[in-house]
Symmetry: C2
């Protein structure tokens, strides 16, 4: 989507508006980064460069869990805790599925009634991005804009069913996995590999009749995590039970996150990690662009399906297939 | 390394030698694929194309585990089982660390005395490849050559400590993780994410005083794996204890592998998976080449470190860094 020319703010207005923490300007700045219009893109890039000195002094938290785990209410409960500690909170979302369904995990603002009317909180629905794998990069830009606008804690929410968790892991300091107790673990639909990325697990809905099974699940997951090595940061993932209804355990989750950040700042991993995340971001953009240039070439598009069929039928090897396409590309 | 011109076999001699199952010719063919000389590469590619119709009708098994887990003796024990069932076995290795150490996990052939003197088995030390991420692709080529030479079961061994497991997972039908009981799990050094890729775990050295702790470990890992969803193939990973010393449980591991293959062939996942592995292989070669072309350009090499420093110092964003480099590249 592009922004109507006459409504476009000047870079100076955007810069001042974002820095002053004005939510409307922040939203317009984020929309600008999502625009597919190249002049919008240039403006957005310039804006982020100007705001760069005001970013980074934050805690970035990835939160994932399948639909039904109670993610919205958990985010509300944790968000209330954070904002009542006088910290400003921004909630972003990466939701590649929303492209297909047309919906958005955060599209319905009313889902987070308390937070969305809280002046200390900013909630941004996930963008319905182009399909070219740019969603993650857009989220990084939105994150920087929120940081420049004074938000000290950033949540990045995903749905726990796809590739986006790896992307989120690559842009946050703490990766939190929400799980339900006793829902039949194989039914929870959490993708393989996600549990091993977690810095912590919160078992939600630990209230009423669920308390006992939540505690059992806590033991189970603690034992399971014990079988994994610690994170690269030397941090051992923890498991907590919590209830967004009774508020029980929500503070524990927040303390866990703060402890891990403290741990990482003490051993230097916090900044090392952010540095390598930045390099990774740069590499990602480069690789995305190289791939996008390659696969969007007319000559490649017109050949690639035949090549794939020939590989499938055992007529040529994947290597020859790749060679044919690469020769076509570099000859262009 | 390149092959001395006068010692080079004709493509016809290689073709016939490999097809006849001659081990010396097979070794020379694999060496050819590893050559950095472009004429060797062309010859190797041509050879693989000719042999392609004779490949694929095999079971491909990835085996990983850290040093000390008893990988060599396990492979010997399982290998004896397989070859005594009149199946020919080839053992390949992916060992990126050998590039650095100069050694090779399979370099010392005497490590597998029984197998290496077995006419039904072929053991290939890992190649000391160039650093351009080509190791995995070379292993795929070696695998196809072994298949054309009549080897019906292929082992691809890795050390379980790095990125190569993801590559191996992408080229095998069954991914087996070897673990030690009671060694202090965090000391085992298995990288995060590897356990979740496993189709099965074998707990080694389950003999003598270890039997009890191995059985306990089996329960623990079974419970832990139960927390994960099944594989994409619908297969639930299994855990077995085994001893290469007493041969106890080795047959169970082999039966587990055969059952999983049967399961995947029945639901069609076996061929679907191989197809998508082939497409992935083609994409990997393309992306490797695009990256290699990009990062090896003189203009990129002379700029990139400055860019990284400026990103680290917060002077520019990773996006601007990427943009500068991309502009340099595409203008060339």
């Amino acid at each position: 989507m592009s922004i109507k020319r006459k409504n476009r703010l000047s870079i100076d207005a955007l810069y001042k508006g974002v820095l002053s923490g004005d939510k409307v300007t922040l939203s317009r700045a984020i929309t600008l980064t999502e625009s597919t219009l190249s002049e919008d893109q240039e403006l957005a890039t310039e804006l982020i460069e100007k705001l760069l000195p005001y970013t980074g002094n934050t805690i970035r938290i990835g939160i994932t869990g399948v639909p039904g785990v109670g993610k919205s209410t958990f985010i509300e409960a944790l968000g209330v805790k954070i904002t009542s500690n006088k910290k400003k909170l921004a909630v972003l979302a990466i939701d590649p599925t929303s492209q297909r369904s047309g919906g958005s995990i955060l599209g319905d603002k009313t889902r987070m009634e308390t937070l969305s009317s809280n002046p200390m909180a900013y909630i941004r629905p996930s963008s319905s991005q182009d399909k070219l794998g740019g969603v993650a990069n857009k989220t990084r830009e939105a994150m920087l804009l929120c940081e420049a606008a004074g938000y000290e804690v950033i949540f990045i929410e995903t749905v726990g069913v796809g590739q986006s968790e790896v992307a989120v892991k690559g842009m946050v300091d703490f990766f939190l996995l929400l799980m339900l107790a006793g829902a039949g673990d194989e039914l929870q639909g959490i993708k393989k590999g996600i549990m091993e990325m977690a810095d912590g697990i919160a078992i939600t809905k630990a209230d009423g009749n669920n308390i006992k099974s939540a505690k059992m699940a806590k033991t189970e997951y603690t034992n399971a995590l014990h079988l994994f090595p610690p994170s690269d940061s030397g941090w051992y993932p923890k498991v907590h039970t919590c209830s967004s209804l009774t508020d029980e355990g929500i503070e524990d989750v927040w303390n866990m996150i703060k402890n891990q950040v403290k741990h990482m700042k003490a051993n230097g991993y916090f900044s090392t990690n952010r540095e390598s995340q930045n390099t990774q971001w740069m590499d990602n953009i480069i690789i995305e662009q190289l791939k996008s240039d390659f696969y969007s070439k007319k000559e490649i598009k017109s050949t690639i399906n035949n090549i794939k069929n020939e590989i499938r039928d055992g007529k040529i090897s994947p290597k020859i297939g790749a060679n044919i396409l690469l020769q076509t590309y570099f000859k262009k």
